[in-house]
Amino acid sequence: MVDVPIPETTRIRVEGPWIVRLRRFAEITRRVLRNPTTLAGLLIIVALLSLAILAPVLTEPNVPDPYQMPRDWGARDAPPGTPGHPLGTTSTGGDVFYGVLWGARTSLQLSVIVVGITVTVGTIVGSLAGFIGGKLDEILMRTVDILLAIPELIFALAIAAVLGPSFGNIIFALSVVFWVKYARIIRGQIIHVKQNEYVDAARVIGDSKLKIYLKDVLPNSITPVIVQATMDMGGIVLTAATLSFIGLSEAGLAEWGVLVSDGQAGISAGKWWASTFPGLMVFLWALGFNLVGDGMRDVLDPRTESR
């Protein structure tokens, strides 16, 4: 911390900006790895993503649509360990192992698409409201208030039900519902960050509003959004599984919610596997992203870094 000006005769070793940024990245990584819960969450996510990526290798993709469950009508309700069906089959002969793996792919696509759309829309709306303010802020935020007054699940359910059962409609319904809270988070952050003197300093320099927003306001406001988005990566899969479970997705899709729904009838008959494995996957997926999201909060704050 003590940096007494060094005499010019001293050789000064200057580190370039990329080394500094790299070191900061390394520091962040080191801190992630040092926190046991974040690390556990990260391991879970890595494992699930590996499953998703390796799904075509570990299983024979169904033709023509690999996202449809393959049906083995000869082996219905087969218990785990059955040759060819390591995790058993459903009452309609769907291979649970296949469903678990390709369900991970479905979930990955789903959460990336929905989080991508909602974060973008939410950030734009929240930024307009918070950064420009005034009447625009009033209009946008009252709209957000109205949308927030409707319970998320019921709202998504209503939209999906109106549009008819299809997985694409679930993605659409979730996107419509989830952007609202990002808008609210980012607006609050921006209003807070806007008051910092470095924003005034940038105005005194004469930088444009857009540049001030991109350089000063947004980077300092985005952390809670990233944290929330990480947690929502898990939460969205959970909500989508719920919607699928109650039948708002097309039947036969390799999706965990659909599988749980298919298998639940058999639970009372002792055929536990068809619901349990996909259910466990949903649980792990949500848990992994929640743990990481929680850990990101401290890691992303530049002020908490050790000097």
Binding site: V14, P17, R24, E197, Y198, D200, A201, A202, D207, N220
Partner: protein
Amino acid sequence: MTTMTPDVTDSTRAGAPVMTLRNVQKYFPIKEGALQRVVGHVRAVDGVSLDIHRGETVGLVGESGCGKTTLGRCISGLTDPTAGGIYFRLSTEDRARLDSLLDTPPEQLSAEDKAFIDRIDRAHRIDRMSPEQRRIYRRNCQVVFQDAFSSLNPRQLVKDIVARPLRVYREASGHELTERTVALLESVGLGRQHLYRYPHQFSGGQRQRISIARALALDPEFIVLDEPTSALDVSVQAQILNLLHELQRERGLTYLFISHDLGVVRLMADRIAVMYLGEVVEQGTVEDIFERPLHPYTEALLAANPDINAAPGESMRGLEGNVPDPANPPQGCRFHTRCPVATPICGWEVDDAVQWLTDQARLFDTLTAVERLSEFDATLVFEDEESAAEVAGRLTAGAVPPPMAAATEAVEPQGQRVRIRMRPVERVELEDLGGSHLTSCVLYTSRRRDVDPGYTTKLTAE
């Protein structure tokens, strides 16, 4: 380095005006209720006129809430004044003509005069300037903020922070940009080794140096220093003050030094303006203000300021009462409510009587309403006749400050009601007492002859 237009050549002369403020006001609306209806205004800055000349340091002193920071923000273009003009590089000739025109009622202005005002506004008035002029003004007026922790973007490297002005004006890029940034850092006592670090890796004093380097990047003419050292420790403050002085000498900078610390201002400023509740109450050279203060508020500030060289018990006298509400400032001289040498013509109003009542526990509880006709004429309504009678009695019998009693023209009890009428007063104005020493205190200005001699002798006796 800067593109000169015919209008601004004058300012390159030493001593030419850099900033000229005329009757600057900044009001902030107070909003209430769901509809955000405006119910009043906080008068943060209320009619300030000031000249800042090339190469000098003007100190702006006052307590929290006096409007000094708001005035600084108006001058640096961060917020537009509600009324009044802030002119950049107005020549002395133009200034003289403008002053005479501003004194003339608008309806008496000729078309030629109006054209002149319009031309001056386009060329010099910072909130009405043409975009080219605005650019020149923007480059030449920079700010160093009080809080070195919030004035640097925590996610930018020092190089990006200091080089940013150069990038915005496309002054340099690539290797040249780096070298000029290093030169800037070196001019504030930092160096090449600090280029690629984040602000949080620096101590408070170093961060303030980074802020100063950023302000210097465009080689400005004028810098607003808004409490630049009040967040620092004394030993570090001394480093920064020395640095600021050296930079001023080397680069011929003009400073507006805003501070609540009289010791610091005394050291750094050539001229000082003392603010109280949105107004400048006294203005003069450092010697004038510190050796021959001509306003009781300045005297009070000096008396309250702890002096390290003073023996215990020698210094530090405080002021009674609180700073009044800037949304509803006192009439006349705004300092009269706390002034130890107030006179009957200082602006006593009905609110002062009500304020006096709030300190009288028993009587205040019985006050139910105040019906105002004006600031100087109102009826107080009490729960019972006895209280009304007692208040009337005490208001006339000298329980209140003598100048307030003297300013009271009539106290008329009628049952539960007491009507109070005070002698109306006008607003006090700054007056030049010679040698550019300005004060608004009626004890020294031309209104001195209106003051009861009893009060002026009391002052000289002290």
